[in-house]
Symmetry: D2
Subunit: 164 residues, 4 copies
C-alpha cells in the first residue's frame, strides 16, 4: 500500500480502505468472472481486498486484485493456506466466527451471488450499519443492487471513503 506513495495515481487513492468481496466457494463461471472483475477494480483503486480466503468467488476476487498488483487478505474459517492469490492469510480456526470477522474488517461489502453463508455475512454487515452492494445476490432489504461488479466496487469505495 505504501508502495504507492511514490507513484501517485490520477484517481482518488483509497489506500488503507478495506473492501470485502463475499460469495460462495461453489460458484458459477459468471460469478467467478464477476468476482475477478471486482477484485481487479478494488486493486485499481488502491484499496485492500478482503475475502474469505478460499475458492470460488473468494479466489476469483483475490486473483483479480493480485493481477492488478493489489494487496489481498484472506480470512479463513480454518487454519489452512487458503487460495494461492493471498498476500496475508488470517487463520481464524473459528468456523462461522470468520464470517463476522470478515465483515467487521471491511469498510464496505460487495456481494456476488452467494448462498446462506453469504446471507449471514450480509445480515451482519447491515446490522453493523455497513453498506452492502450486491451483484446478482440476495435481495434483502438493505442490499443495494448493482448492474455490474465494477459499479458495485465503485459505490462500495465511495461508501468506504465516507465511512472512515
Amino acid at each position: 500500500m505504501r508502495k504507492h506513495f511514490s507513484n501517485p495515481s490520477p484517481h482518488r487513492s483509497l489506500m488503507g480502505i478495506q473492501i470485502a468481496v463475499i460469495g460462495k466457494e461453489d460458484c458459477t463461471e459468471e460469478e467467478y468472472r464477476a468476482a475477478r472483475a471486482a477484485g481487479s477494480a478494488i486493486a485499481g483503486m488502491h484499496a485492500v481486498l478482503c475475502c474469505g480466503g478460499r475458492g470460488g468467488v473468494m479466489e476469483a476476487a483475490s486473483r483479480g486484485a493480485r493481477e492488478k498488483g493489489g494487496t489481498t487478505v484472506g480470512i479463513l474459517p480454518d487454519t489452512g493456506r487458503g487460495n494461492p492469490y493471498l498476500d496475508v492469510v488470517i487463520r481464524t480456526g473459528m468456523g462461522y466466527g470468520r464470517n463476522a470477522i470478515l465483515v467487521l474488517s471491511a469498510d464496505a461489502v460487495v456481494a456476488i451471488g452467494g448462498g446462506y453463508g453469504t446471507l449471514s455475512e450480509i445480515a451482519i454487515a447491515l446490522k453493523e450499519g455497513k453498506r452492502v452492494f450486491g451483484y446478482r445476490t440476495w435481495e434483502i432489504d438493505g442490499v443495494e443492487g448493482c448492474d455490474t461488479p465494477e459499479e458495485a466496487v465503485l459505490r462500495a469505495a465511495g461508501a468506504a471513503s465516507r465511512s472512515g
Copy 2:
C-alpha cells in the same frame, strides 16, 4: 433435566434436546407474548431452551420456560449476566460469534420476528442443515412458516428428535 427421570411425562420426553428461540432484543409486545409461549411449550416437552440470553424475545422465551420449570440457557455476546431467567449463562465475549454458537448448539431453531441479527442466525442454521421454524419472521427460502409459536415449537421438537 434428570430431575424428570422420576416424574415420567405422558408426553414424549425430549430431555437432552436443545431448541433455540431467536429474535430481537427490541421486540414488540406481540413478539414478547409469542416468545414466552414458545419457551413455555419447550419446557412443557422437557427440552432445554437455548437463547441469546439478553432482553426482548430472548428474555420472554427464558421466562416462559422458567415458569414451566424448564431449563434455560443464555449464550451471551458479552460477559454480563444476561436476563434474570437463565439457569446457565454462557459468556462468550465474542460478539457476533455468539450467533453462530447459539445456532450450532441447537437441534432446531424457532425464529420469532427479528432483525438482521436474527437473519444472520437463520442463515447459519440453514447453511448447517438445521431446520428453522418461523413465526412472523424473515421469509427466506428454507424457513418453515408457522401460524402460532406453539406450532413452531412442536414442529421444531419433532425435527430435533429426528436429527439426533
Copy 3:
C-alpha cells in the same frame, strides 16, 4: 438448579454459581479421580459444573457432578456431542475460542493437571481477575495451589460466591 428450591440444603447453596474444571483430555488415572471428586464436590454445593465437554479431566468432572445429581455444562471446541455426562452442550465450533468462553463463563476455576491448552485457560482467567485454584497443575504466579481437589472446589466456591 431451581429443583433445589424446595429441598433446602444445610450447606450454603451456590445455585447459579458456575465453577469450571479444566484439564487435559489425555489425563492420568490420578487426574481422572481428582476431577471426578471435584465434580462431585461442585454438585454437592449445588453449583453448576462447566467444562470443556470432552474426555479425560472434562469427562471425569462431568461424571462426578452427574453422579451427585448436579447440572453439567460442556462447552465444546467443535460441534460434536461431547462426553455422555452433559446436561447442556454448547457447540462453539470455534476451536481455541472455546477456551476463552469456558473461562469467561465461570465464576471461579479449578485446574487439575493440564497441558498447554489448560495453561491458556489459566492465563485468560488470571487476566480477567478470576481466581484459579490448582491441583497438581501449572505453578504460574497467580494460581492458588491446593492439596486436594475438594479443597480446590471449596475455595473456588467461596471465591465465586464473593465475586457475584
Copy 4:
C-alpha cells in the same frame, strides 16, 4: 510483498512468511525498543509482521516494520482502528478469540515481555506446535529464550521457513 519481486534481496527472502510479535499494551520503554527492533528485523527479511494491533509492544513492532517498508497486520480484539502503523486491520470483535487467531496466523512467534494475555498466546502457540522465541518473557517449558530481539526474529524466521 510482491513489490519486492523486482528488487531481489541478497538475504533469503521470506515473502509470505508471517511472524507474530506478542507482548503487552502496557509495556516498558525497554520492551518498546525491543519490539521496534523486532519489527524492523522482520521487515528486513521481507516477512509479514502480525501483531495484536494495539499499543505498547504491538505498536512498537508495527512501527519498526513500517519504518523498514514492511507489511504490517494488526489483529484487533475489538472493532476499532488499532495503532497508526498498520497496513491491514483485522477487526475480530471477539475479545480473547483474537489471541488464538493471531497465533494461528503466524508461522512462528516472538514474545517480548508480556503478561497473562501474552502467556495465553504462548500456550496456544506451543499447543499448536509452533515455535516461540522469547526475549525477557515467560520462562515456560517450550519457550526458546533469546539474548536480543534480533536473535529472536532470526530464529523465528528460520523456524517459519522450515514449517511451510
